[in-house]
């Protein structure tokens, strides 16, 4: 319990820090942010109005205080372009990004576990070497290259999937593979490494000595213990996944948060940029805290407060 409370405490500090960071983003705009956002031809009255609505005419601490109180009330401001509340726009775009992230996660796990398990069980064989070569390729190919190549082969040449957009299951396949590849590559290495470590433990020898088949040893004994560090890595990698979604969404014109942030940057709609960064970062913090808590709940060594 103590652990949970202290974990939540440090999460609260991090959340506050992220809010500061996002708040200061708009002050990094070179020159006058209002002028940059509205363009030079804007009427002085409009500038005054925007400056006032963003609170840029007030001293910094006051600005920050009102920013915080707005965020707490889920008021993220209004988009400069569409004039709609940003929270509504985010709510509209979020399902697409979630769908993509979950699909990519499924791809990553579906590829990484078989690959990692085969590589570990048949260590130092051709299986191992080719599995690791595939994973090496996976880490070295960025998703903005992977995406166009997949489109070329599977959409243009073979015609199996749509080139872009979000219409039905078919349109999800290529973006999910694109986004999931890097994670699958890292994850399969992790699965291989932890599984190898666990397979060297005494209790595995015991399990083998009492006559358990290799399958039972792997599934019942080794994998269960190898799973914990892998789960932590999954949580940590989720940040990379969410950030990677920005580029993947741009490649496939996938109408999610990532596409929104790029559109907002292009149209200098900075309040929307801020809101997107805030949303992605906070969901990452949330997931990490949950993984941490899940970890301590799953692992009796940590849960019971032993010196794990």
């Amino acid at each position: 319990m103590q652990r949970v409370i202290s974990r939540l405490g440090s999460t609260a500090i991090v959340v506050f820090g992220v809010l500061c960071l996002v708040f200061f983003l708009i002050h990094l705009v070179p020159g006058d942010p209002v002028e940059v956002m509205l363009g030079e031809s804007a009427r002085p009255a409009d500038r005054m109005a925007l400056r006032e609505s963003l609170g840029l005419d007030k001293p910094l601490p006051v600005q920050f205080g009102s920013y915080l109180s707005h965020v707490v009330h889920l008021d993220l401001g209004t988009s400069l372009r569409s004039k709609r509340p940003i929270i509504d726009i985010l709510a509209e775009r979020l399902p697409a990004t979630l769908e993509l992230a979950i699909a990519a996660l499924v791809v990553a796990i579906g590829v990484a576990f078989p690959l990692g398990i085969i590589a570990a069980v048949r260590k130092d064989t051709a299986w191992d070497h080719s599995a690791m070569a595939v994973s090496l390729l996976g880490v070295s190919i960025p998703n903005f290259l992977m995406g166009p190549l997949l489109i070329l082969f599977f959409s243009l040449w073979l015609g199996w999937f749509p080139v872009n957009g979000r219409e039905g299951f078919g349109s999800l396949v290529l973006p999910a593979i694109t986004l999931g590849t890097a994670m699958a590559a890292i994850l399969s290495r992790m699965v291989r490494a932890t599984l190898l470590e666990v397979l060297g433990e005494d209790y595995i020898r015991t399990a083998r000595a009492k006559g358990l088949g290799p399958r039972a040893v792997i599934w019942r004994h080794a994998l269960r213990n190898a799973l914990l560090p892998v789960i932590t890595l999954l949580g940590l990698q989720l940040g990379a996944l969410l950030a990677g979604a920005v580029i993947t969404e741009a490649v496939f014109s996938w109408p999610g948060i990532g596409q929104l942030i790029i559109e907002a940057i292009q149209s200098r709609d900075y309040p929307v940029v801020q809101a997107c960064v805030l949303l992605i970062s906070l969901s990452y913090v949330l997931v990490n805290t949950l993984t941490d808590l899940a970890y301590s709940w799953l692992d009796p060594r940590v849960r019971l407060g032993g010196s794990a």
């Binding site: 070179p30 090496l136 290259l145």
Partner: protein, 280 residues
């Protein structure tokens, strides 16, 4: 967690794990340095060459404006090299000094440092870089600034964890007893000893920066046309995938070769310097 990128065993390991990657990196460096003096014209528009596939008239083909892809890939190698060098230099020096100071001074300083590191780690790196580059505006300097702001954290964390395990060693205690100042201890007695893991981190860092620069340029947040970057070349090529796939494949292969080579060499270096990744 030290899985080598290439599992050893085969004789070809040395060739593919050392010599070929080394060759790629040397070529990349040479092209980046002598590129501006070569008789190439990456911005030269030749309307008769538009979308021309690789062949006798254009070795690697031409793009949608009829510019030579070979010349543009060379120019792009320069962009990625410059950005990678600057960012790794700035962020590694900044991160190392901050991390070492925090860990050495301890107490309040260290606490503040941990909090700042935690906050930066809470924002996915490339996302923050995208937002920063988007807000600072395009251009190679702003790419360097954005990536450095994101990049120093990793070095600071590594330096901190290393120094924490070092600062109670006898030689540091002796230096303190002899009245050495903080600056002398940090720069003469601590940083030299933590160089090995930092160099390994920096070598993998180069690969990350090359990808990040290309990624930002892909999104239109990096160098501006007509300047060439592998990322912006891939973006331009993506619009002509069906008629001119070489527009994506040529810069894509260049990018992958460099990234793959850096990762393989970094792996070698890690084994050579015998660095274990330490949990921090």
């Amino acid at each position: 967690m030290n899985t080598p990128l290439l599992t050893r065993g085969a004789k070809s390991t040395r060739l593919f794990g050392l010599w070929l990657p080394l060759l790629v990196i040397i070529l990349w460096t040479i092209f980046a340095i002598v590129g501006p003096f070569l008789p190439i014209a990456p911005d030269h528009i030749n309307l008769t060459h538009i979308l021309m596939p690789p062949g006798a008239q254009a070795i690697l083909g031409a793009d949608d404006l009829g510019r030579s892809l070979a010349a543009r890939v060379l120019a792009g190698s320069q962009t990625s090299f410059i950005v990678a060098c600057w960012v790794v230099m700035i962020s590694s020096v900044m991160g190392t000094v901050i991390g070492t100071l925090g860990a050495y001074l301890g107490g309040k300083w260290d606490l503040v440092l941990i909090r700042i590191i935690d906050i930066f780690l809470a924002v996915p790196g490339i996302l923050l870089a995208i937002a920063l580059a988007g807000i600072l505006g395009p251009g190679i300097e702003n790419v360097v600034i954005a990536l450095s702001i994101v990049g120093w954290v990793g070095y600071a964390r590594l330096a901190r964890s290393q120094v924490l395990s070092l600062k109670h060693r006898e030689h540091v205690q002796a230096a303190i007893a002899l009245g050495a100042g903080t600056r002398r201890i940090v720069f003469r007695h601590l940083i030299p000893l933590i160089m090995a893991p930092l160099i390994v981190e920096a070598s993998f860092g180069v690969a990350g920066i090359v990808i990040a620069e290309a990624g930002l340029s892909f999104l239109g947040l990096g160098v501006q046309p007509p300047e060439a970057s592998w990322g912006s070349m891939i973006r331009d090529g993506a619009q002509y995938l069906l008629v001119a796939p070489h527009m994506v494949i040529v810069p894509g292969v260049a990018l992958m070769l460099v990234v793959l080579s850096i990762n393989l060499l970094g792996d070698r270096l890690r084994d050579k310097l015998d660095v274990r990744r330490q949990p921090s």
